[in-house]
């Protein structure tokens, strides 16, 4: 069952990802990305991470990507089609480099075997009540990173205020 889900949604995610790159129009790229994110959310479910799956759909695909779509619509949804390319060879180069990286990383990672990992101190075992545990952890052990992300959001707010406001 899990295998089937993986191949189905994994395939969709991959195709959608390729589509993000392949689409000439950025609007369709964004839609492809939403599809990809949704498929990955399903995979998260399969990986026993329901909370993350939910956040992925609600926050990521739901909120962030919608913001994207808004911006795309506000700006210039169809300019990308006419974009001129100053470096045609870059496409081939990128593909070649991506391929090299793929081959290399794949060879390096092939030997991955989670069973070989010793039990690491400080590991938090996943249990049934994972969502509540998750919330608990976020405010105890991971408080500092969590708070740090709030700084991040503060910075983002300031950035948007400073940059995107109307001319003063």
């Amino acid at each position: 069952m899990e295998t089937l889900i993986f191949y189905l949604f994994g395939g969709i995610a991959l195709l959608a990802a390729v589509s993000v790159v392949a689409q000439k129009n950025v609007f369709y790229s964004a839609l492809s990305l939403i599809l990809c994110l949704g498929s990955v959310a399903v995979l998260f479910l399969a990986l026993e991470a329901p909370f993350i799956a939910a956040v992925q759909v609600i926050v990521y695909a739901g909120a962030i990507m919608v913001l994207f779509l808004f911006v795309i619509m506000i700006l210039d949804p169809f300019s990308a089609a006419a974009a001129r390319d100053k470096r045609k060879r870059l496409t081939c180069l990128a593909a070649a480099l991506g391929l090299v990286a793929l081959v290399v990383m794949f060879t390096l990672m092939r030997a991955y075997d989670p069973a070989a990992l010793p039990v690491v101190a400080g590991g938090i075992p996943a249990d049934a009540a994972s969502v509540s545990r998750l919330g608990q952890l976020l405010f105890t052990r991971f408080l500092v990173p969590f708070e740090a992300t709030s700084i991040l959001i503060l910075v983002a707010i300031m950035g948007v205020v400073v940059l995107a406001r109307k001319r003063s």
């Binding site: 990383m105 390096l108 991955y112 990992l117 101190a121 500092v144 503060l154 910075v155």
Partner: protein, 481 residues
Amino acid sequence: MTLDELFLLIPQWILLAAAAALMLMEPFGRPAGRRRLGLVTVAAVAAAAYALQLQWGLEPRSIAGGMIRIDGFSLFFQWLFLVIAGLSAVLSTDFNQREGIDRGEYYALLLTACSGMSLAAMSEDLILTFIGIEILSLSTYILAGFKRRDIASNEASLKYFLLGSFATAILLYGIALVYGATGSTQYQAIRASAALQGEIPALLLPGLGLLLVGVGFKIGLVPFHSWVPDVYEGAPSPVTAFMAVGPKAAGIAALLRILAEALPGLAPDWTRILWLLAVLTMTLGNAAALVQSNVKRMLAYSAIAQAGYILVGVVVHTREGFTAALFYLVIYTVMSLVAFGVILALSGPGDRRVHLDDYAGLGRRAPYAAAAMGITLLALAGIPLTGGFMGKFFLFGSAVKAGFVGLAVIAVLNSVLSVFYYFRVLVYMYMKEAPGGTTDIDPVSRPVWAILAIGVLLILWLGVSPDRFLALAGYSSLGLK
């Protein structure tokens, strides 16, 4: 998290509170208050510094569930970042008023960036390091584009943002791989896990590679450096000054922590990679700086090359090497801030007078600024009796001691190369006459003068009597390992 641990983070709280206050001052503060923005910033930095100073001499400890380490290394970098933020704020005030970007968010972002850098240096967990770097990066993306009406500033911001987020993603993937390889993101745990597994876990090597790329981007190592010249050129000059030292130092700090604390087992690998990166960074940075005629851009390339020198200390990965790298960071910070300080003092309305020709005959037109610039350039070139020499001396010394004679020789030859372009500025300032019709130099405010003067004195003092700072750096490097 205990109260005790909160106390240890007070400097950061102060900075963030001040940042929030500055942000709020913008909509709610009266216009008269604006002039005090810089003052508030400096006050916050001073307060944080005071709070930080109380931690002096504490036993090293890990807090926040092993996320944050309080030790000499953390203290050292927090100090450094506070100084950088404070000085940048002072350098900015006049400039911002002149350029009409004197807003509270500017200073708030400086403070958040400082906070992010501190987190990156203090963190003992890859995730927190990542978030710290991210705070720093987001702040600087915005700062770089702070002159919204300026095309260059906007372009710098865009380049920095796009490439930065690209690199961040790579870094994050690296973190994921390390996590997968060791089952943890906490440095000590990574180290222990890697050690327990006997042979090197399969995912650790690509993880290491991607980490190096991600952090190398922040530091500006060749070939991950390409954003540096453009962004430095386009960003407002005070921001450039800040970027040339802050993120670079934060990147070095993170790199040191990661490599020395989490991945010492991979030392043979990262040593060799970083050896090559250091050589590339020095050589290409210097070679590209040779052909620049825009002083800001030239200093950008010089900053790349300087990062290569600092990297020597990391490659060496001995006590001496780390100490020398930290020591050189201090000196580099002072040199860079003074150099950019002079540039922005002379840059004129619109931040335009940054071409070498604008420096012709400066020795006569603005003798003091020229002298400050001259001494700084000598220091950057590594001429004795300046801090720059002492820094290089200990760096190269550590390399020689650890057997990296080849690296030392390459670094030394690069110094010769760098002399060429540093001295070219001297040539323009002292050996060429100003072309007719050159406008006068704008008056420089007292605070900026003070910074330049203190900086120059510090450069000279470090060149003559570096013992104390060196001891400090040595104490701080104890935190590693």
